[in-house]
């Protein structure tokens, strides 16, 4: 089992979610986050005063999946979230030690 953590542009959440549904991904956790990468921040102007805003809003998607599904999920996220411009985000993949469904106590892949 692996955990896929993708940081994407907020407006790409909807197409990514739909495409993941289409390949039968069962669940995900979504968080609104802020940060910066190579894109750096943006400038905002209020009443003529310019401010450098370093942290940009992004969306973080977390999905835990069986090993054989991981490649598909990553490909789907890239396909949907990519604009080709700087700021599209990143995907991180981690091994998962254990998964437990709280309601039934099931563990391992059947709990994913």
């Amino acid at each position: 089992m692996q955990k896929i953590e993708a940081i994407i542009q907020p407006f790409k959440l909807e197409p990514v979610k739909e495409a993941l549904h289409a390949i039968s991904v069962q669940g995900m956790t979504v968080t609104e986050v802020k940060g910066f990468g190579r894109q750096k921040g943006i400038r905002e102007v209020y009443r003529g005063m310019e401010y450098q805003v370093d942290f940009l809003p992004k969306v973080k998607i977390e999905i835990v999946a069986a090993d054989d599904k991981v490649k598909d999920i990553i490909a789907t996220i890239i396909e949907q979230a990519r604009t080709g411009r700087i700021g599209d985000g990143k995907i991180f993949v981690y091994p998962v030690g254990e998964v437990i469904r709280i309601r039934t106590g099931e563990t391992g892949e059947s709990a994913v």
């Binding site: 102007v45 009443r47 401010y51 450098q52």
Partner: protein, 407 residues
Amino acid sequence: MMNQADTAFVLVSAALVMLMTPGLALFYGGMVRSKNVLATLMENFILLGVMGLLWALWGYSLAFGPDLGHFIGNLDYLGLRGVGAEPFKTYSETIPHQTFMIYQAMFAIITPALITGAFAERLKFSTFLVFMILWATLVYCPVAHWVWGDGGWLKGLGALDFAGGTVVHINAGIAALAAALVVGPRRGYGAEPMIPHNLGLTVLGAGLLWFGWFGFNAGSALAAGALASSAFTATHLATCAATLAWVATEWIVRGKPTTLGAASGAVAGLVAVTPAAGFVGPMSAILIGLGAGVLCYLVVLAKPKLGYDDSLDVVGVHGVGGLWGALATGLFASKLVNPAGADGLFFGNPSLLFTQVIAVAATLAYSFVLSYLLFKILDATMGLRVTPEEEMAGLDLSEHQEAGYNL
């Protein structure tokens, strides 16, 4: 002769002006950081209570009571004694004295509220309350008496101020400058971003101000008739023009038309047309609005170079807008619009402009000196600012033990 239409009109106008204070609270509340939103709303909303009572207990008497030395009203109307159904003929023969009083009460509420934008995000609430009570008593009431009160010295000179350009906006605008100078900038001002946290509130607030301002300006005719209609029209047209002028100027200067610019331009236009509303025609009103939009934007743009932290631009919008409006009244006023007024420079009478300059200068000087002294005295006695830790945590938590947004 009492007139029911006039009475109804002025009472409704009073209710409209009352709504301006919550409108102003939203206008300001959207521009501060989220940790100070409630404190900013509170500094405005609480004045409905404080100034409302102050006005009934002694404020009205000091402003509109029988004249003492052309400077202030006496104490005859203390606690609204004798302020009842009988018209106060000096101001209006067709509405009850009490109607006039409660209409004026709403002006006494919004004027001090305007100043709160200058010291937003850092003033102690207790000091704020004491300052406002003293300022209303020692600054607002006398200046209102000078300009509007029977026997007031500026009224005697023939200075024109239809709905409060001098009494309300210049008065509050220059007090705001004193506040910004004595209170000092917000911690981190200029170094860290201090970004408006919710401009939606600000735009809604500007809309409520625009709406309420019809009561402020048209209501100042104190009668439901042609003069009210003329003031209403002038108010609207000047505001339309100022909204467009501010946005157009920033579009040219900075490349983008902003929402905050549209909201700010509207308020600048409302401020500028306030003294002129009942004395100028529709085309003059448009010129006044255009001037306000451009001028106020340029002053706000120059603020960072001037070094003081007038956080929400009370000086730039109300001070400068009020100044322009008062002087523009001396340019554009016409007896064809209001026979009880006077002709301005463009209608063949240069002396009115001179009188307006005196009224403006006197208000600027008096209000600035007293406001400055009040803040200095309070600084030495109660202390003006919250502690650095409290300021970092935000006033919502440190002064009111609340949070604006619980998610």
